[in-house]
């Protein structure tokens, strides 16, 4: 296989792979009362138990929880509020499509 042909095939393969990569959707949740990491473990555990959630990041400094949702999956505001409330905190704002 000549180099030009190989490069072309490789480019096609990479484009195909790239289009199938799961793109995570970010959601940012502003949470009141989140001052202690020990007590806020419930937020992480409950969100990570949801199959829709790809990844999660908690910041005590900004009082924000950043969620990445799997491609094709959805999570409603009501579900988010329920989880945060059951963890003992209060949702102030939910931002989507960051």
């Amino acid at each position: 296989m000549k180099l030009r042909t190989f490069t072309g095939v490789l480019a096609v393969v990479l484009v195909a792979l790239g289009s199938s990569v799961v793109q995570a959707k970010p959601i940012r949740i502003q949470v009141n009362g989140m001052v202690c990491a020990f007590c806020a473990q419930g937020i992480e555990k409950k969100f990570k138990a949801m199959p829709q959630v790809e990844a999660l990041k908690v910041s005590l400094e900004t009082k924000k929880v950043d969620l990445e949702i799997k491609e094709g999956a959805t999570i409603s505001d009501e579900q988010i509020k329920k989880i945060v409330t059951e963890a003992g905190y209060e949702v102030v704002k939910i931002e989507r499509s960051l």
Binding site: V35, C36, F38, A40, G42, K46, S59, E86, G88
Partner: protein, 211 residues
């Protein structure tokens, strides 16, 4: 730097305290708490079945003037009110329960009730609680406790957090009626450890985790 600070605190284990954590955790959480001093030990296994309520098995040992008093029984914790602010949280809890008491080779019943209030941000911590236990054998038990704490740095979520605290306990029917204990608290994720030595040289070691 913060991690190094936390590790140094663990290694030193110099100061003293008593684990005081929220009686009710997140819904579905199981917690194990044990705090220990020479004159008193208290152990709980709790399950938070609602965001504002938990049930616990409690095992307690107290050194009274006339001997050792032991209690085993159930406890119900209820979160009366929580204030969630941007940079603070405050809570009021009530709790109570009943079970079996052992004292001086006798067995009887006992019931108790208590109230606890705390307020904290990432830098400061305060707590006060009062508890009263009435057994059918031995002396009644009253306990008032207060705590003030300060964090040397504001730990982020994935960092080791450390606190310096001072705890004052008053329980007139125990061998030690008034105890002041400086202590250090560290925690990481779901694991919390406290250790200290009172002004009367009584050690303290407390541990707690959630799963």
């Amino acid at each position: 730097m913060m991690y190094r600070h936390g590790v140094v605190l663990v290694l030193l284990g110099l100061f003293s305290a008593q684990v005081v954590a929220h009686p009710v955790a997140y819904q579905g959480a199981t917690g194990v708490m044990t705090w220990n001093q020479p004159f008193m030990s208290d152990h709980w296994i709790t399950y938070s079945f609602r965001p504002d309520a938990a049930i616990a098995g409690r095992f307690m040992r107290m050194q009274m003037d006339d001997g050792e008093f032991n209690y085993s029984g159930l406890q119900l914790d209820y979160l009366v009110k929580r204030w969630n602010g941007f940079n603070h949280q405050a809570n009021i809890y009530v709790y109570g329960g009943g079970g079996v008491a052992h004292f001086a080779d006798e067995e009887g019943g006992a019931y108790f009730a208590g109230v606890e209030a705390d307020a904290e941000d990432r830098k400061y911590f305060s707590l006060i609680k009062a508890e009263y236990m009435r057994p059918t054998i031995g002396d009644e038990f009253a306990h008032i406790e207060g705590r003030l704490g300060i964090a040397p740095y504001e730990a982020e979520y994935h960092e080791i957090a450390s606190w310096f605290m001072v705890q004052a306990q008053w329980h007139p029917t125990l061998q030690k009626t008034f105890v002041v204990t400086p202590l250090a608290r560290i925690f990481y994720k779901s694991f919390l450890l406290e250790t200290g030595v009172s002004l009367d040289a009584d050690w303290m070691m407390n541990f707690m985790f959630h799963f």
